[in-house]
Amino acid sequence: MWQWFHKLGSPRWFYHISGKFLPWLALVSVVLIVTGVVWGLAFAPQDARQGNSFRIIYIHVPASFLALAGYYVMAAAGAVGMIWKMKLADMVMVAAAPLGAALTFIALFTGAVWGKPTWGTYWIWDARITSMLVLLFLYIGIIALSRSFSTRETSARACAILALVGTVNIPIIYKSVDWWYTLHQPATIKMTGAPSMHPDMFKPLLVMILGFYCFYALVLLLNTRTEILLRESRTTWVKELAEPK
């Protein structure tokens, strides 16, 4: 088991292994997302109160989930890189920041667009939306910090520390709906108990959430691989990739 962990530290091994299952991951992501989008747009029933604007949920909710989860991924990668001095973990952390920021932006944008026909306004300063905005700032802070240092290792350590300190904010975001009275939709998917959505509306949402998870993993891997090529460009194996014999 530890052998596998140490192998994981080798960028070359990681590059080759990930190259093998990347096409499958891409296929699964595309299939899930396309299925979810078509199902949600065309075949799921519309909401009694919100009409068709409710279909935005199929992008908004998965994006929000991944935006939150992605921060944990980034912080965890930073912690692993800091504790075990694993360069690969540092690369994953750095790759996770812009990806998480983009997903947070998507969540905010779809939320705003959903808000207009539903509650009459693009923006409302309720707890959940505001916390999402704060999450975006956390991501941007990490991205800005990662670009400020001259050495990669210092940069990675600094970002890891900041990400770990910011991790405390995440439960507060997640719990914010319980703590404040809010206009935002109450969380419809709880880990225990039945969801309060009609099952025909809920199934495409599950598909999309799954698809987004796969998409996240896909993009994270792609960016990590790019970073590996960049850093290891002087090694023989990368040179062989550039000029296959």
């Binding site: 604007s53 994006a63 790019t226």
Partner: protein, 62 residues
């Protein structure tokens, strides 16, 4: 089953069309870019590396 009477109704989305399509359109575009940009970067990196190696070899030979 298909929730709309015809394709026009599908696009119109009961009046919510601009919102739904704006949301989906921008989001899926961003996601596509997120997936494709690293692929393009990789290809550019390898091409650049190839050029550098060839240049090195030419200098070595001459």
């Amino acid at each position: 089953m298909f929730q709309f009477e015809n394709f026009d109704a599908f696009i119109a989305m009961g009046g919510h069309g601009p919102y739904v399509w704006a949301a989906y359109g921008l989001s899926l575009t961003i996601m596509a870019w997120l997936a494709l940009a690293p692929l393009r970067r990789q290809r550019a990196l390898l091409a650049e590396l190839r050029q550098r190696l060839q240049a090195q070899r030419q200098r070595g030979q001459s």
